[in-house]
């Protein structure tokens, strides 16, 4: 937080180097977030660009009650929702964002017997935390698995796990209930776990 306060002070004082650094730090993450709201690359870039214009415009009103990046992500998400509302061809965001909670097990059911006991137990991921090369390969699988997630799960996983935001911050940015946010996050993580599990059982695939 104090880090943010320092940056904000410099930004409000007109420090161009600080502004450039801010763009560099958040641009890629903003593109990733934008891609969960819009369907093509150029719309994502446009959305990010629009977000920066609002950030510049509102910089002097930022009060530091949230983290700077949370504030920026929030602006991006709001713009995306506004755009969706004005574009009648797209479904309203709320119907896209909500996930039926009762189906949370979904894809896992075939791994249990009728009594709910493991029929196909989880296989070891063989993740050695000391092995840097292996970890790098694991992270490649994680990233590939994340890229495959449905947009709303991807957004939840990215904000919570990759960006390290709180559940409150994530709910606010995505405009979903807490329960829904947890379902999105859990499903996203579960699918990534499965991808890693599948990758780990092929001998020689994880080790280079």
């Amino acid at each position: 937080m104090s880090d943010d306060a320092h940056i904000i002070e410099r930004l409000k004082a007109g420090d161009e180097k600080a502004f450039e650094a801010l763009i560099d730090r958040h641009y890629a993450a903003m593109i990733r977030l934008a891609e969960t709201f819009v369907s093509d690359e150029s719309s994502a870039e446009e959305l990010v660009q629009e977000t920066w214009r609002v950030v510049i415009d509102k910089l002097d009103t930022f009060e530091g009650r949230s983290k700077l990046k949370t504030w920026i992500f929030g602006i991006l998400a709001n713009l995306a929702r506004q755009r969706r509302r004005s574009d009648q061809r797209e479904k309203p965001w709320s119907t896209i964002m909500e996930e039926p909670i009762e189906e949370s097990a979904g894809h896992m059911t075939e791994r249990f017997d009728a009594e709910g006991r493991w029929q196909a137990p989880p296989r070891a991921l063989q993740l050695d935390p000391e092995d840097e090369a292996m970890k790098t390969q694991f992270l490649e699988h994680v990233q590939a698995a994340m890229d495959e997630l449905p947009a709303r799960q991807r957004a939840a996983v990215m904000l919570r796990d990759v960006q390290g935001l709180s559940s409150e911050e994530t709910c606010e940015i995505l405009d979903v209930s807490k329960a829904n946010q947890r379902v999105l996050l859990h499903r996203g993580r579960a699918k990534i776990r499965e991808t890693l599990e599948d990758a780990a059982v092929v001998p020689g695939e994880v080790r280079s």
Partner: protein, 88 residues
């Protein structure tokens, strides 16, 4: 005891710490007694950690940089905004 399927259903809530006390105890007990579910729980935590690590790497080396043209445009707007305020 709760079934393994129920355990995996609730594991997200368990990791989030949002379960009521009674259910939390049941989950803890199940993981204590069931190796498969213990493994599953650990793997879900590993996944969250790995994604955190991915975030760390992206913070150190961003995946992509803002196009120079966009940066230039934004810097102009920023300069205008700052100048506009100081002359008010």
């Amino acid at each position: 005891m709760m079934s393994c399927e129920e355990f995996t259903d609730e594991v997200g809530e368990y990791i989030e710490g949002t379960l009521p006390f009674g259910e939390r105890i049941q989950m803890w007990l199940h993981a204590f007694l069931c190796d498969h579910c213990k493994t599953y729980l650990q793997q879900m935590r590993d996944v969250a950690d790995l994604m955190g690590e991915l975030g760390e790497r992206w913070r150190e080396h961003p995946e992509e940089e803002a196009p120079e043209e966009l940066k230039g445009d934004l810097l102009d707007s920023y300069r205008e905004k700052v100048d506009g305020e100081s002359t008010e």
